[in-house]
Symmetry: C2
Subunit: 398 residues, 2 copies
Amino acid sequence: MPAMTSANQSSLADAIIQALRSVLGADKTNLHEPSFNGNEWIYLKECLDSTFVSSVGSYVDRFEKELATFTGARHAVAVVNGTAALHLALLLAGVKEGDEVLVPALTFIATANAVAYCKAVPHFVDSNQHTLGVDAGALRAWLQRTCEIRDGHCLNRQSGRIIRALVPMHTFGHPADIEALLTLADDYHLALVEDAAESLGSYKDGRHTGTIGLLGVLSFNGNKTITTGGGGAILTNDSNLARMAKHLSTTAKIPHAWQYSHDAVGYNYRMPNLNAALGCAQLEQLPGLLASKRRLYEKYRSAFAGLAGVQLFHEPPGCHSNYWLQTLVLDADMAAERDAILQATNAAGLMTRPVWTLAHQQLPYRHCPAMPLPVAESLASRIINIPSSAFLGGMDLS
Amino acid sequence: MPAMTSANQSSLADAIIQALRSVLGADKTNLHEPSFNGNEWIYLKECLDSTFVSSVGSYVDRFEKELATFTGARHAVAVVNGTAALHLALLLAGVKEGDEVLVPALTFIATANAVAYCKAVPHFVDSNQHTLGVDAGALRAWLQRTCEIRDGHCLNRQSGRIIRALVPMHTFGHPADIEALLTLADDYHLALVEDAAESLGSYKDGRHTGTIGLLGVLSFNGNKTITTGGGGAILTNDSNLARMAKHLSTTAKIPHAWQYSHDAVGYNYRMPNLNAALGCAQLEQLPGLLASKRRLYEKYRSAFAGLAGVQLFHEPPGCHSNYWLQTLVLDADMAAERDAILQATNAAGLMTRPVWTLAHQQLPYRHCPAMPLPVAESLASRIINIPSSAFLGGMDLS
């Protein structure tokens, strides 16, 4: 038996390396790199020449307007990063100390951290294998079994805490089943905050991710589809929430020609103009980057077609994904080979990685409430992300 | 009497405008603008060309090394802004939920906000009129009267809470009486965290501000002596605290080739490489900027010499200040004219501002503990900051 496992292992790893090489060539390849082929230099220089490099400046306003236009959100508020955006969005959604917030176990730890910053408790929920996002059906059954509506709130009977919000995350850019989650949120009096950090350019039934819930959150970290160095944004269709987002992200200072008065515990979360200048240049190239990433998916689809033991993840029905991170999912009987495949591909100079350690297994969140997580746990043992930079799809530099 | 007040008022405002004009000329002049006369553009371009614009990159490492060299701190950890630096520094100093932290009432609200982020309570203390910083003598008398040492902690007998830390701020770049405050902190078992956000390039008895306490904090906001767009840093001589600062600012991720495991509730506080590139260029020019700001002080000193009713604030004894913001202090009997002077100078295109509304009067902090604050209250009614950009002193562009 050990001999047979070893044979499988080496053959599947070898076959994956071969498929990757057929798309990527012989070069050492990173997981994700940004592409700067537009007006980045011009805008950065213009920003420097204006001396407005900090938290006030025309690029911030322009970046926000163009983000709103691109996504179809009525408002976008630019902030220092996606984590800050999530923190503010949860505060604006009414999350208070001692509340619970439903977040997927299968997510980057920032989703849970943002809940902790609000002094609330993450309550981990399971994923759907066809979306990699929160499973609306399983979550509904869990809430039916463990919660009740009391005084217009969703009360967790097990913990005695109010569950205030639901934060689905659009994993690797693939939209979660957001309409079903919205219905569920309505039924259970939960604010819906979309963690769209990974899904700029991803749509469900023609609507951009992050614009469907009460608030949505984007990230422009260096590893994302477009980057501002560090950056994020809050999307919302609610003018009052947008105004509050900007107010809280700028130390809650009351506008005045010279007085420094503040009416709340605010944050220094405003995106600097320098970073927004980079963002404006990147946003101009977004359609081309998305087309390249889709071409890369098609190349991988051909390369991995017919390879036994592994599936290339494709966008869910009704979705148009940004294919931010290309994803292999091993068959269940191949899960044991994941680490050997990670070893072999990285040793071959092809950067791959597993999905995040599930949030309910991370040290600071081990004692938080969680529903049964069979799908998340299965996926976590079988996912491998492969090189995904847009330029690997062949860039359209027009 | 009203006629006389009005005459005084108009004559003092006019005299101040005349003195400002004699230094600044006829142009519209802002309070503080950055100067970009070095390698800013070269480094930004190099950063872009490297594609490492985000939270990993050689400029971040270089900026930290050069900050440590410049200040004499053993370690510098670069973060997204001064507020984030303060938040982390307080956590590292052991500030816990329900603690109190001594902070000056005369400070930008971020100092108090950082305490609130730790779920602790700011306890406001008075200022010394010769330093504009925390008054060590008055604070000692206050602690003697209201606190006791119990189980190795400073217990506030009035609130029943532990006072965990003291955060003096070096106002407008002028060093507080830091040795006396360090002795006081030792006597009362308080961690000393220096808010040196405004005092890069300021020294007390030859030691750089922010390097004397357990931890110190710098800011590189757009209005500071040097800027990174948005940015800050933590200074410390303690290797373990420096390591923890970096760990907590990078989501507390345990280093691993591909695994995403985190051992604490961490933060996304790391300075992006793009911003650090700007910082490296700015830091090269710091000695010249400091010399220009000192020349501007000398020009103002001549211009305001002999003007009755107002004093130009000069560095305290034993201090070498960066003269970040040049400061007028009205005589006590002229305090009533402050707003008229602010009106007149700003209307004349000479940007001036009063000091911040005192922190204990800000809406979120009105119910926090405070010692009597006669000096802070007097200063708050009499301070006017005047245009302070380094280039106004005549730049040395060599």
